[in-house]
């Protein structure tokens, strides 16, 4: 059953001049971890705020637990939201912060205390309960914000880029923690990020948004391997998918599938002569930049060679590369949408 659903949601700002959300249909199932991914300004926060009830949509409906809540205020929705800034109440202690939603809901006192202790233990913030938010580190603040969301036992967690304030190292561990935590609690979670690594790592399904529209919804593998259009293909993956124009179509292939010809075992391969101009070493991989020919019009592409491929390659020479034909993806050159595959000989 869908716990959260939006139907033909539209949100315009400034009397219709800004189309922040432009007709979005989505649903998140019970216990699902749904990630909203998209570039800055594509409407992720607006969508989340509409789910939370902080924005009233221009048209369309929001359903939570099967009930239409479009016009209901946030407090009537049984949702918990963690803001990007964590929005801890600065004048309250950690304890008072966590217990606040329970008091607001009129939970009896013994029960409140029991729940705060439970959440504090789960997130390992027991020793911090007496502190004020300003006395906490970024990671600790995040855990307090999560604890405050958690004690309410909401139907849905809404998280808006909760990791973006953390440094790279803390981010990785916090991401891991979030995933374990959600697996343990099993609450439906909608998570907003513009970081594809976070999205791929956390999501059961990823929703790729651009300019207020959904471009693709699917599990990480599918979004990565079978992008619905050139936007998704180039937005996800780093370096992004190579696109080469050929006879009114775009031929796409991921950098890790463009390998020296002797490393492509498949008999059904398409050869790509590559005029190498630059090589980068990045965490063990070799990123080889060059101009590809024969597969289509001459285009600058990238190949990502894993450490296990030790074929000698030097800048300035043209080397024979190839792509397994099953790895090729085709897009319409006009619309950018996925197109029927064609056989390329080579």
């Amino acid at each position: 059953m869908a716990v959260v659903e939006v139907r033909e949601l539209v949100k315009h700002y400034d009397g219709g001049r800004v189309h922040a959300i432009d007709g979005v249909d989505l649903s998140a199932g019970d216990g699902e971890y749904l990630v909203l991914l998209g570039p800055s300004g594509c409407g992720k926060t607006t969508l989340l705020r509409t789910l939370a009830g902080l924005e009233v949509p221009t048209s369309g409906d929001v359903l939570i637990g099967g009930r239409v809540v479009t016009r209901l205020p946030p407090r009537a929705r049984k949702i918990a939201m963690v803001f990007q800034s964590y929005a801890l109440y600065p004048h309250k202690t950690v304890f008072a912060n966590i217990i606040f939603p329970l008091r607001a809901q009129g939970v009896p006192p013994e029960e409140r205390h029991r729940k705060v202790r439970w959440a504090a233990e789960l997130l390992d913030i027991g020793p911090l309960l007496g502190r004020k938010p300003r006395q906490l580190s970024g990671g600790e603040r995040q855990r307090v914000a999560l604890a405050r969301a958690l004690v309410r036992e909401p139907q849905v967690f809404l998280l808006d880029e909760p990791l973006s304030n953390l440094d790279a190292k803390l981010r990785a561990s916090a991401r891991d923690e979030l995933k374990r935590f959600q697996a343990e609690i099993g609450t439906t979670t909608i998570y907003v990020t513009h970081d594809q690594v976070e999205a791929m790592g956390l999501g059961d399904r990823i929703v790729v948004l651009a300019a207020g529209k959904v471009r693709q919804v699917g599990p990480p593998v599918e979004v990565y391997d079978d992008p619905a259009d050139t936007f998704v293909a180039t937005f996800i993956g780093s370096p992004p998918m190579n696109l080469v124009t050929r006879e009114g179509r775009l031929v796409g292939f991921r950098p890790e599938h463009l390998l020296p010809v002797e490393d492509v075992r498949s008999p059904d391969r398409v050869s790509v002569p590559l005029a190498v101009d630059r090589i980068e070493y990045l965490s063990g991989d070799r990123h080889v930049y060059g101009v590809a020919s024969r597969i289509g019009e001459e285009t600058r592409v990238v190949a990502r060679l894993p450490a296990t491929v030790d074929t000698p390659i030097a800048a300035g020479e043209t080397h024979d590369f190839a792509v397994d034909a099953r790895r090729l993806r085709f897009f319409d050159a006009e619309t950018g949408l996925r197109a029927e595959p064609v056989r390329l000989e080579g």
Partner: protein
């Protein structure tokens, strides 16, 4: 390499502080020293020669029942005014930040008392509170609260006179308080308020548990400033009642003025005014402490 003036932080600090130091010495320290000197002398308008008389002025002031009456009035005036100013200021601040049709007109009206020159507004108030032609009395009469030909004599009866003075003072200061508290309200991050909404808090809980505590430091500073201002202010008293009837609205500042300047007994006037000093010092220390608390958040 030669150090330039701009590199010498210590010297620069002194240079920049100099104007304010001069200002404080000329307009605070000198009058303060003069006040002490006068309070210990028998200088008067009729006999400006300086003769040291020790604490005699203070003894005479303390023996004067009007002094004690003024002191009591000052506390009543300041206390009640401040409570009303803070409460009304907060309410008006909420109106100022609210988003509704016609908010510009309301904002204009809220700020009007603050922008009206005292000379102008006091004439209106004198008319509003006039003993015979008071429009307030007309209205009361119209609704039957007053009999025909009856008048309340707003400024002629002790209780009503104090009420009038407080009302006008509150009317005068509330816009400023509202603007200061509006600044405090606007400074609350939107996230925090929205978080409280998502957490399920209703309007009153958000008001009393989130917004008021967060504007409290700003409000406290505003209230203390207002208290100091009110404590030493005599403008409304002077315009409306001149301390009357029968000293019912006499406050320390006006009493010092009538004694020292109008009555010509400079020594006593200075002694009365000096009595304010320890109270104001305490208020100033309180302000500084509150400001420090804000920084700690």
């Amino acid at each position: 390499m030669a150090t330039r003036l701009a590199d010498r932080a210590g010297l620069l600090a002194w240079l920049f502080l100099l104007p304010s130091v001069l200002y404080i010495v000329a307009l605070v320290a000198v009058p303060f020293a003069l006040a002490i000197a006068f309070a210990l002398s028998d200088v008067s308008a009729g006999d400006p020669s300086y003769d040291y008389v020790g604490g005699r002025n203070f003894e005479r002031v303390f023996d004067d029942p009007v002094f004690w009456r003024s002191l009591g009035n000052t506390f009543v005036f300041t206390g009640i005014s401040m409570v009303l100013i803070v409460v009304l200021g907060k309410v008006l601040a909420n109106i100022l930040v609210a988003d509704f049709r016609g908010k510009w007109l309301v904002r204009f009206l809220v700020l009007l008392p603050w922008t009206t020159p005292v000379a102008l507004s006091s004439i209106s108030w004198l008319w509003l509170l006039d003993s015979i032609y008071s429009p307030i009395d007309w209205v009361l009469r119209f609704f039957g609260f007053l009999g025909p030909g009856e008048n309340l004599y707003w400024l002629g009866q002790p209780g009503l006179a104090m009420t009038s003075v407080i009302a006008v003072h509150v009317w005068r200061l509330t816009p400023l308080a509202a603007v200061i508290m509006m600044a405090g309200l606007v400074a609350i991050p939107r996230d925090i308020e929205e978080q409280a909404m998502v957490d399920g808090a209703g309007y009153w809980r958000r008001m009393f548990e989130i917004k008021i505590p967060l504007v409290l430091p700003v409000a406290a500073v505003a209230a203390l400033f207002g208290a100091v201002f009110t404590f030493t202010d005599m403008a409304v008293v002077r315009v409306l009642t001149r301390g009357g009837p029968n000293d019912a609205t006499q406050v320390l500042a006006s009493w010092a003025f009538y004694r020292g300047i109008e009555g010509g007994d400079v020594g006593q006037g200075a002694a009365i005014a000096l009595f304010l000093f320890p109270l104001l010092l305490a208020a100033a220390i309180a302000i500084l402490r509150v400001v420090r608390r804000i920084e700690v958040w």
